[in-house]
């Protein structure tokens, strides 16, 4: 998903996007806003004093790398002044794997904002931005929308069949549907939380095990390098070469008569030249 694919889903009624990101962060070209939607930069402190309505969408890059990233707490006063229906698109500067979502939930609840959508963003698109949230100030649960289908490729009811009595594509309308959704959220959350505990523990164990095996592997690599170095020293020594020439001769006696003296001569020449001072050196 790219931010330019996500935003259009939430721009109905929006006339202007107000970017409160740090001034050095320039993301406007990634938004590809339609011509009828304006774009304006406003300092965060200034935005905190203003009120926003549904015709404005707030935009901000959040994260831990201050000052380029805005800390979620700094957003709380802005969200609190949203009137119902106002939305914000928040880019995530943390990696998804390490998203400290406890830092987000508080400000969102304080601002009475519901996450309408949270999605990873294509890494190739904006470097250092792993995902995005669209949040909305609500007075009651807003319908949860599907996340699997691109807005432009709906699944069409095809052929004859009963009409859908319980609402359109955005989830159930009516209180019965809303309660069912809320119950589902709460129940899935509680049970998923339960089963994720042993998995989280297992992940911690496995991470620990992988790290200790990597340490062990590094130690063994070091030992191996050491052993190879010593072997190379031994193999290049004259004593070793002499011994192996003799051993080769003993293994193939027919060739030994001719071969061993030649080898001995080579080793001998090698020793002498090794003892001679190198070119350009006066030492001896």
């Amino acid at each position: 998903m790219r931010i330019s694919e996500l935003l259009p889903r939430y721009l109905d009624g929006v006339r202007e996007v107000v970017d409160v990101s740090h001034p050095d962060v320039t993301l406007e070209r990634h938004l590809r806003l339609p011509a009828e939607v304006g774009y304006r930069r406003v300092a965060l402190e200034q935005a905190a004093g203003a009120g926003f309505g549904p015709e404005t969408m707030l935009f901000c890059l959040l994260g831990a790398a201050s000052p380029a990233h805005v800390d979620p707490d700094a957003l709380t006063p802005v969200l609190r002044r949203f009137s119902p229906g106002t939305r914000a698109a928040l880019l995530i500067g943390w990696s998804v794997e390490e998203l400290p979502y406890h830092r987000l939930v508080g400000p969102l609840v304080a601002g009475r904002c519901q996450i309408r959508e949270v999605t990873p963003l294509d890494r190739a698109a904006i470097r250092g931005v792993s995902g995005a949230l669209v949040v909305e100030r609500v007075t009651r649960l807003a319908p949860l929308r599907g996340y699997l289908i691109d807005a432009r490729t709906p699944v069409e009811p095809a052929g004859p069949g009963p009409a859908e009595p319980d609402g359109g594509n955005d989830g159930d309308s009516g209180d019965g549907g809303e309660l069912a959704t809320v119950l589902r959220v709460v129940n899935e959350y509680q049970l998923a939380d339960l089963v994720s505990r042993p998995v989280r523990r297992r992940l911690a164990e496995l991470t620990e095990r992988v790290e200790s095996q990597q340490r062990l592997l590094a130690e063994r690599d070091e030992l191996l390098r050491d052993a190879r170095r010593r072997l190379a020293e031994v193999e290049s020594s004259a004593g070793y070469q002499l011994g192996s020439a003799v051993a080769r001769g003993a293994r193939v006696p027919a060739r030994a008569l001719a071969g061993v003296p030649r080898e001995l001569a080579r080793v001998w020449r090698g020793r002498r030249s090794a003892r001679r001072p190198g070119p350009g050196s006066d030492a001896g």
Binding site: L148, V155, E156, A158, D166, D172, R184
Partner: protein
């Protein structure tokens, strides 16, 4: 003609998977392998629309291919970057899947018996439910697959698009819209539509549902 018993049905599929080529064994036996290839690719593109066009290596989608047979769909969906579990009753089909590898995980299980501590973004079942001949087992299977779909996730079940049931030969009972839609609704799923395969007169397609409650 009487229908196959559950045991005969299981033996039939095991033998068919051992005997037939890659695609005919799970596809349409009245077509040759190249034609089955078209049939498979066409259905994969329908699934692509149902699963959506997004994929992320860090936060992948989790899919269940229920009745995966020799795993062609599981492998292709895994190649899109999704995390796929394939289940099937046939041991020979699963042995083939594991040998081919390709990223998906495979388990021997019936549709009604698969248990998981995790829910799926999409549960799909391609041309399996009309091979479950016993009505009660069919219902248990649909209920179980529905229960594995997370909130806002999707269920895609292949069967024919008309109302009513029809029996073909001794190993196919197609069930219609009047069966799938109310049952899925009872399970908290909204009916999004039926997508016909539209392949050479094949009457089947995907019932697509989204969990709303």
């Amino acid at each position: 003609m009487g229908l196959l018993s559950a045991e005969e049905n299981a033996a039939y599929w095991n033998a068919r998977h051992q005997r037939e080529g890659d695609l005919r064994s799970g596809g349409d036996m009245s077509f040759d392998e190249p034609t089955n290839r078209m049939f498979y690719i066409l259905r994969l593109s329908l699934l692509l629309d149902i699963v959506g066009h997004q994929s992320d290596p860090v936060a992948p989608l989790f899919l269940l291919d229920a009745g995966c047979g020799k795993g062609w769909f599981s492998r292709e969906l895994a190649r899109f970057g999704h995390q796929v579990d394939g289940i099937d009753a046939s041991e020979s089909a699963l042995a083939y899947c594991r040998e081919r590898g390709g990223g998906a995980r495979y388990f021997q299980s019936s549709l009604s018996g698969w248990r998981s501590p995790w829910l799926y973004d999409v549960v799909l079942s391609v041309d399996v439910l009309f091979h479950i001949l016993d009505d009660d087992e069919w219902e248990r299977s649909v209920r179980n697959l529905a229960s594995l779909v997370r909130l806002r996730g999707r269920l895609a079940l292949a069967d024919w698009g008309e109302d009513g049931d029809r029996t073909y030969g001794n190993y196919q009972v197609v069930r219609g819209r009047n069966r799938y839609v109310p049952l899925a609704r009872e399970c908290g799923l909204r009916f999004d539509g039926w997508r016909p395969y539209a392949f050479r007169g094949n009457p089947n397609g995907f019932y697509v549902f989204t969990r709303t409650g």
